[in-house]
């Protein structure tokens, strides 16, 4: 009896071991290894804004101490005693996360500012961010005066290359003035220029500013 029980137990254990061996073999076929990886990058910020109020630099009429100066037509005019200006004539803002090139293209034109003997007479005083530029010992010609004003505006707006994360916030205030009756000689010269304007050779003051901000590689 005891032997029968032992034989049966042996047979039972035999079956159990066979079964577990089969199941172990089966688990190999289902073995799967999975791995994953990821990375995330933010798109670099741009956010550069360029604004201008340059259209408000000249007027068709001015009120000054002598009365009112009024253009005969719808064009902007200059006259002795007139003055105007614009705060934040140009404004750049933003802190891009990329390097940039700020290209300030300025064209200052002063034409027909000369007397009968072809000598230069330009009584205008142009100020850029409070610094005044006029014909003097440094700027002896209108060409030099134009260049000086152009460079001043470029510097004020940060013309050139800038590294990433540079705060580009820059503004330029531009103003001009034609002083009234500074001397008898200048009064005569001012009158001459006025006569030239009547004859169709009016002296002019032009200002053209274009600002482009571009990412550099």
């Amino acid at each position: 009896m005891k032997k029968n029980i032992m034989m049966r137990l042996s047979a039972l254990l035999l079956v159990a071991v066979l079964l577990t061996t089969c199941v172990i073999s089966g688990t190999f076929a289902k073995y799967v290894t999975t791995y994953s990886a990821k990375d995330v990058a933010q798109v670099a910020k741009w956010g550069v804004v360029v604004e201008t109020k340059l259209d408000d630099l000249f007027e068709t009429a001015y009120d000054d101490a002598t009365g009112t100066v009024q253009a005969a037509d719808t064009y902007n005019i200059l006259a002795p005693g007139t003055t105007d200006g614009q705060v934040e004539a140009f404004k750049i803002s933003g802190t891009p996360e990329v390097a940039v090139n700020v290209n300030v293209d300025v064209d200052v034109t002063l034409t027909n500012w000369k007397l009968k003997d072809d000598s230069v007479y330009c009584p205008l005083v142009i100020s850029v961010n409070g610094t005044k530029y006029q014909i003097d010992a440094t700027n002896t010609t209108t060409a030099k005066l134009e260049e000086a004003v152009e460079e001043a505006i470029k510097t004020a707006l940060g013309h050139g290359n800038h590294n990433a994360k540079t705060n580009l916030n820059k503004t330029v205030d531009i103003a001009w003035e034609w002083p009234f009756s500074t001397s008898d000689a200048n009064d005569k010269n001012d009158t001459y220029l006025g006569d030239q304007a009547e004859a169709g050779n009016a002296p002019t003051f032009g200002l053209d500013i274009k600002v482009t901000v571009t990412q550099v590689d």
């Binding site: 032997k3 688990t27 190999f28 073995y31 933010q42 798109v43 996360e97 590294n163």
Partner: protein, 278 residues
């Protein structure tokens, strides 16, 4: 007679002991093997990760589940040392003119060939929503230099997911190169600027996900990949195959012994019957 009785009892008892030991050992191995199949996460109890003989990784780390890897950088410096791209908050960043490469390997140090499947997804999203118009391109190639992405560089608009299936032989490895770029010249400047401005007030992100899975190949001697130079066998690794072979041999021996024992008893009974008749 008593001596032969003792011998037969001894054989059966020994057989039972051996079978019990084999059964316990098999059950332990089965339990471990089933536990390893559970997902490997920080919240799951892993009995022994050393059983994973297929590894995926780059030159800095071995992957796990959802591993953070370095595909992107936080800045770009030009040849003159000028910082031309940099994140204000130190985040990884992408911009026109940037490009990068990520190389990863799948290493099979087991004694069996494995079938692998690698899936790469690349997406540009704005506040989590996929943007369908993106300027970014990717190129995915395998260890043979063959492009998984047709034609080489492809825009992520066209294909958001790339799949490659390879067989890696035993003690072999394969590697992949994932290249990405945002072209500076000749791309859509308006789109680039739009994305840059969007990024000021929104989460505009470019995400790359890579999932690699490996299963035992039907043909354990299948070939594929490059041979591993230094095969690392972690200490404690248990090779199950000899154990199964030993199980089978021992079982065979026990079966033979039991058959012999049974035959001997039958002969004894026959002798008793003859003796009693006499």
């Amino acid at each position: 007679m008593n001596k032969s009785k003792d011998n037969s009892n001894g054989i059966i008892n020994s057989s039972i002991i051996v079978l019990v030991l084999l059964l316990i050992l098999s059950l332990v191995i089965l339990f471990v093997r089933l536990a390893i199949q559970l997902p490997h996460t920080d919240d799951t109890f892993v009995i022994c990760p050393k059983f994973d003989t297929v590894e995926v990784g780059d030159n800095k780390q071995i992957w796990d589940l959802d591993t953070n890897v370095t595909i992107f950088k936080t800045s770009k410096v030009d040849e003159y040392g000028n910082v031309v791209v940099e994140s204000i908050h130190g985040d990884k960043i992408i911009a026109p003119g940037m490009e990068g490469n990520y190389r990863f390997e799948i290493r099979n140090s087991s004694k069996f060939a494995v079938d692998t499947k690698t899936i790469v997804t690349a997406q540009l999203t704005v506040n989590g929503e996929v943007l369908e118009n993106t300027p970014i391109e990717v190129r995915f190639s395998d260890y043979k230099g063959e492009n998984v992405t047709e034609g080489g560089w492809v825009n992520v608009n066209n294909i958001g997911e790339f799949i490659d299936e390879l067989t890696i032989g035993k003690k072999c490895y394969v590697f992949f190169n994932l290249d990405w770029r945002w072209v500076f010249e000749g791309s859509n400047d308006e789109l680039d600027t739009l994305l840059g401005n969007l990024s000021c007030d929104n989460e505009v992100e470019f995400t790359i996900n890579i999932v690699s899975s490996a299963t035992r190949c039907g043909d354990k001697n299948a070939e594929g990949g490059l041979p591993l130079v230094n095969v690392y066998t972690p200490s404690g690794e248990l090779d199950i195959t000899p154990l199964i072979a030993a199980n089978v041999i021992v079982l065979f021996v026990i079966i033979v012994l039991l058959i012999i024992e049974n035959h001997r008893r039958k002969n004894k009974k026959a002798k008793y019957k003859i003796a009693s008749k006499e």
